[in-house]
């Protein structure tokens, strides 16, 4: 950006680096999350491109099988844990405090800790590429393929330990956001007045804090088996390797709702804004979100219809799974209800939101087809599943996230993303997406299993695989357009002003980008769509209390001006994360091992001791440092 200025003042550059390293401001942390996660998204996409190149034609040898296996394993893991989740976290950070009228999250330094730990986990996971090979067992890493016997390298260890780190980061963030949303709302912002995005974040945060401990346990068990020769998943010791699958999917299914609900929240914000109508059936959208979260816990074994659980279990899980279509349908129908009778303006953000709905329906319906377990026996582990996951994850989460990027970019930066390029980006994405993933339905039903490093030429899959690869390159083009737009608009995009979309929620009431303390005075909220009702008093239903629907500062005890305490910048969270990272590497290399023979690796142990000590000392520093600074 201000490259010239920096060249002249190197000190200013380091000041800025320092500022970013020690920041506890939720907006900055959100930006860090966003940029980092987007880079990981591009990395995961690049991995996908290599897979598509290999699969472009039958019987190719461009990518050797072992590399191919690492590619899809890392692609899945990266997209889910390093791209979509942190991209959602970026929005939580940027938007939630603004939407609930708060100055920051409940625990700003814990928030910084979440980010740095996420970064540590992401870096650790990807360093495995250079340290002997990455995970090669698929993103759900079924045992016993991950056991030492079949997988002597370190890829699985890297995966397990970095996922534990990512789990710590996510759990910390989940705890933080539950507390923030429950406790930090502006006066008058009752639960039923919270924007839907806030609601979905709340549901997701609950899912995170409850689901992640389960995978953490599974990962610990896996890591212990591999590092110390424990027997959790050892068939020869009498254990049942299916336990891994259960633990993974007990987490894994809530996880997919962790991935989709934020996007649903984003879309629920965007539709009313551009249709200029309140969200249709607010309470129903909220309740369906909650019930999706709850029901998401009861369906995990639908990923295991073919492991031979028996007819009773398959029936149960089939029935619970298809039931989820009901609350999801309620959401979709209410979104259509929102558009119905509206006055819809197609800005790029709206295009992406609309694309989300159109594509998610397809993905949801194919999900329903998997849920029917007898015919899923023909679909499970084929490209039909791969089609489903991309329709819900790309057509759902990613389109929703892009909608959010276009929508909130002006709030975060003060500048609009270019609309012309935005529309090109959207249409390239939309077309490229369908060209890439729609044919996967066909090859899947024509019997192409997933995770194939190559396939025979006589199977009838050649044409569509070629089409899919072409689609993937259209997606590449669309992303290049987006990147160009992003950098161009960041520098010389049109000035946005506080409220470029004539929007509805509190974040648009303050300048763009928001001042460090967000709100000069904490607003008093009198209704849903608090800001909209201020701008359009005649449109607001008259509140029972006879309040005039105006946004005005909360009357505080003294009635006067409230002192603003901003949290101090702090490097302690970063240092704790660094400590954890060091300890993590130590754990990966804690033993020299071969099946049946383990000996302690002193280097690994030393790293653990150093890392833990470092983290402990930093925690103490954190503890000693006062949280809030002097008055502003």
């Amino acid at each position: 950006m201000a490259t010239a200025a920096i060249a002249r003042h190197p000190a200013a550059f380091w000041d800025r680096v320092w500022m970013w390293l020690t920041t506890v401001d939720h907006k900055r942390i959100g930006a860090l999350y966003g940029v980092t996660a987007f880079l990981f998204f591009l990395l995961g996409g690049t991995e996908a491109l290599f897979m598509r190149l290999q699969l472009m034609r039958p019987e190719q040898n461009m990518v050797p099988p072992e590399t191919f296996n690492q590619l899809f394993s890392m692609h899945g893991t990266t997209m889910i844990f390093l791209a979509i989740m942190p991209l959602s976290a970026a929005f939580f950070n940027l938007i939630i405090p603004l939407q609930i009228g708060a100055r920051d999250v409940a625990f700003p330094r814990l928030n910084a800790f979440s980010y740095w730990t996420f970064l540590a986990g992401g870096i650790m996971l990807n360093t495995s590429w250079f340290l002997g090979g990455a995970l090669n067992a698929g993103w759900f890493a079924y045992s016993p393929l991950t056991g030492l016997t079949f997988n002597p390298g370190h890829g699985v260890d890297f995966w397990a330990i970095s996922l534990i780190l990512l789990g710590i980061a996510s759990t910390a963030a989940g705890l933080n956001f539950v507390v923030t949303i429950v406790n930090m709302r502006a006066p008058g912002m009752t639960l039923t007045r919270m924007p839907v995005f806030v609601w979905m974040t709340l549901v997701v945060s609950f899912l995170i804090v409850t689901a992640f401990p389960v995978i953490t346990v599974a990962l610990i068990e896996l890591a212990f088996d591999r590092a110390f020769g424990f027997n959790f998943f050892s068939v020869t010791a009498g254990s049942n390797p299916i336990l891994w699958q259960h633990l993974f999917w007990v987490f894994g299914h809530p996880e997919v709702y962790i991935l989709i609900l934020p996007a649903m929240g984003i879309v629920s914000e965007i539709l009313p804004t551009f249709a200029r109508k309140p969200l249709f059936g607010y309470m129903f959208i909220v309740f369906s979100g909650i019930s999706i979260g709850v029901m998401g816990w009861m369906v995990w074994a639908h990923h295991m219809f073919t492991v031979g659980m028996g007819p009773v279990a398959n029936t149960m899980f089939t029935l619970t799974t298809i039931t989820i279509a009901v609350p999801t349908g309620v959401k979709i129908f209410n979104w259509i209800g929102t558009l119905w009778g509206g006055s819809i303006e197609y800005k790029t953000a709206m295009l992406f939101a609309v694309g989300f709905i159109a594509m998610f329906i397809i993905g949801g319906l194919s999900g329903l087809m998997h849920a029917v377990s007898p015919s899923d026996a023909q679909q499970q582990d084929t490209y039909f599943i791969v089609a489903h996951i991309h329709y819900v994850l790309f057509g759902g989460s990613i389109l929703g996230i892009f909608a959010g990027i276009y929508y909130w970019f002006p709030k975060a930066t003060g500048r609009l993303l270019g609309e012309g390029l935005g529309k090109i980006h959207f249409w390239l994405t939309f077309v490229g997406f369908n060209v890439t993933f729609m044919p996967m339905h066909f090859v899947g039903l024509n019997g192409m299993p997933r995770r194939q490093s190559t396939y025979a030429a006589d199977m009838g899959w050649n044409l569509w695989n070629m089409v899919e690869t072409i689609g993937a390159f259209i997606l590449l083009a669309s992303l290049l357009v987006f990147l160009y737009n992003f950098f161009r608009s960041g520098r010389k995009g049109e000035q946005a002003g506080a409220d470029p979309w004539d929007a509805r929620t509190l974040e648009w009431a303050i300048p763009s980008p928001p001042p460090e303390h967000n709100f000069d005075t904490i607003p008093q909220v009198h209704g849903r769509d608090a800001f909209w009702e201020q701008k359009h008093p005649h449109a607001a239903p008259v509140p029972a209390g006879g309040a005039n629907g105006q946004l005005h500062p909360a009357e505080h005890q003294g009635g006067g001006h409230e002192p603003i305490h901003m949290p101090n910048p702090s490097y302690w969270p970063l240092l704790v994360s660094v400590g954890l990272g060091i300890a993590g590497y130590g754990l990966i290399y804690i033993t020299h091992r071969a099946p049946g023979a383990f000996s302690l690796n002193w280097g690994g142990l030393a790293a653990i001791v150093v890392g833990v000590t470092f983290a402990a000392i930093s925690t103490f520093g954190w503890y000693k440092q006062p949280a809030a600074g002097p008055e502003h």
Partner: protein, 209 residues
């Protein structure tokens, strides 16, 4: 995370629910930790009776010894409520005495555990021996780790109080540490029932007919 919660001593803002952020965080964390232990317990139960070689639970677990250590942990919880009460009253000397008692009892519990582990290894049960060993050491080991963290935490309260840094405004910090400590206690209640009492009974039933 526990430390983080503890460390965040923001000035008291009024919150939407009137509840303190840190306390809310702690309770939520405990709810989350339930799932952590729940998964470990599920692992234990699913693998129960699946070990191919001994030693089996009923051959090796000593109910009497463990009931003593259970007793010790329960007592430590009692000590801690007394110390919280003392702190609330403003009686910091009593507070320190009770905290120290709690810590000592916690360490005693850990001592029992170390002793037990050593004993088992001696009798040929390591985490590598069989499924029982694997699941038993992991579950009780993670409980022990929680206790250890609790001991460190309580000790830090003790020293803070010695240096006069745990005044009336820090009552909540004591309260929150207590929640954690009692949680560790209730988890042990479950473990004692599942692994020790029931596990041994079921084992002898199966073995003895």
């Amino acid at each position: 995370m526990a430390q983080a919660a503890h460390a965040e001593h923001a000035p008291e803002h009024p919150t939407s629910t009137g509840l303190d952020n840190r306390k809310l965080l702690m309770w939520l964390f405990l709810g989350s930790d339930c799932l952590f232990f729940g998964s470990l317990i599920a692992t234990y139960l699913i693998n129960y009776g699946k070990s191919l070689v001994g030693p089996y639970p009923h051959e090796i677990l000593d109910i009497l010894v463990t009931s003593v250590s259970t007793f010790v942990l329960l007592l430590s919880s009692f000590m801690f409520v007394l110390s919280l009460a003392a702190h609330t009253r403003g009686d910091y000397r009593a507070f320190r005495v009770w905290v120290l008692c709690t810590v000592i009892l916690g360490c005693t519990f850990l001592g029992f555990q170390v002793f037990e582990f050593q004993q088992f290894v001696h009798e040929g049960l390591t985490p590598r021996t069989n499924l029982f060993g694997t699941t038993f050491f992991t579950l009780t080991g993670f409980h022990g780790a929680h206790v250890t963290i609790g001991v460190v935490w309580l000790l830090s309260l003790f020293f803070l109080s010695l240096r006069g840094k745990l005044g009336p405004d820090k009552n909540l910090s004591v309260d929150i540490a207590g929640l954690y400590w009692h949680f560790v206690d209730v988890v042990w209640i479950v473990i004692f029932t599942v692994i020790y009492l029931s596990g041994v009974v079921a084992g002898t039933n199966a073995a003895g007919g």
